[in-house]
């Protein structure tokens, strides 16, 4: 019983930490939408009509995901969205690597574009994605057990 409780506490702490990271990333981008739009443009994946919309919409989305993770309500939604977003970030970075272009991730504010920073960003996206996957699986299992 105590092992299960410990596990629950660990998941709660992990979920809150994941939420805090998303809130922090969202707030930084929300403060400088033009710099974030410039970062998105370096990926050369979206047309000009969508870049600024993404730059305006993604920061509130990240903040909302962070809050959902911290408060855990509605159940699973925060970790699910975090998982999807990390997968999208990692795919975008991987595509930039494959095309051989240097991009500015813009994940935590604008930091200049370089391959070394891209590796760091990819590692971070994969790490956060792994945490979100573990949390989501745990919450799915809890949902299945309760129904």
């Amino acid at each position: 019983m105590s092992a299960i409780l410990r596990k629950r506490w660990l998941f709660l702490i992990l979920r809150a930490a994941l939420g805090a990271v998303f809130i922090w990333a969202g707030v930084l981008k929300f403060q400088a939408p033009q710099a974030f739009a410039d970062s998105i443009a370096t990926f050369r994946l979206l047309p000009a009509q969508l870049i600024n919309l993404l730059a305006l919409g993604l920061p509130p989305f990240e903040i909302a995901i962070g809050l959902l993770c911290v408060f855990g309500f509605p159940r699973r939604l925060g970790t699910f969205c975090a998982l999807v977003l990390c997968a999208v970030f990692a795919s975008a970075l991987a595509s930039a690597f494959l095309r051989g272009i240097e991009v500015d991730c813009g994940c935590f504010g604008s930091g200049g574009s370089s391959f070394s920073k891209m590796w760091l960003s990819l590692g971070r996206a994969l790490g956060l994605g792994a945490v979100a996957t573990v949390l989501y699986r745990f919450e799915l299992r809890s949902t299945a057990e309760n129904t």
């Binding site: 710099a35 919309l53 730059a55 919409g57 699910f80 240097e102 129904t147």
Partner: protein, 208 residues
Amino acid sequence: MSLRVFPVAARDFVGLAVLGTIALTTGVLTNKFRTRPLPLVYATKASRLEQAVARVAASPLPAAPPTETAVLAPPPASLAPAPVDGPALAVPTSPAANVYEIELPEFQQRLAEPGAVLVDARPEIFHRFGHIPGALALPRDEFEVYYPKHRAKLEPYKNQEILVYCQGSSCEDSHLVASALTKLGYTRLAVFVGGWNAWTQQGLPQEK
């Protein structure tokens, strides 16, 4: 369990779509209240700067300032250049050959010359946190705001060399600002390629 997972995951996808729509709406609405709202269609850094230059060029000249403000203070003696080995490192980068790149030793040498003019093209907040002594803040993203402030200091140097730097070798702001200045009639722009990163890595003096 896996049979039950798919409907649950499908519901989560619907939740994601709803949350995404609410976030996008919030982002677009809050943008209306920003001091400088983001236009809905993206314009590249270069085209935004071009538009800013066109507006600056079209704006009337300010009233003549007192003569002493047009003369920049010489840089401190602590900025004496390191000895340069071999020939000068200037590399022409524009067809008109008036924007060229220089490396740290040559940059230090030119900075130590009396009357050297130095421009910091990084965002203003970075300039506030620390910059190369004597540098004027002329951020690429706020060119239209800052150029008129420094106009009186810069215009006497239209036919002399102006040094420009940004964060480091991977940033393009120094080249963009140098190019913008050529469009305003400045003829010799030396871009310090290593920028702030190269300067601080050498432990050279900073000003705040």
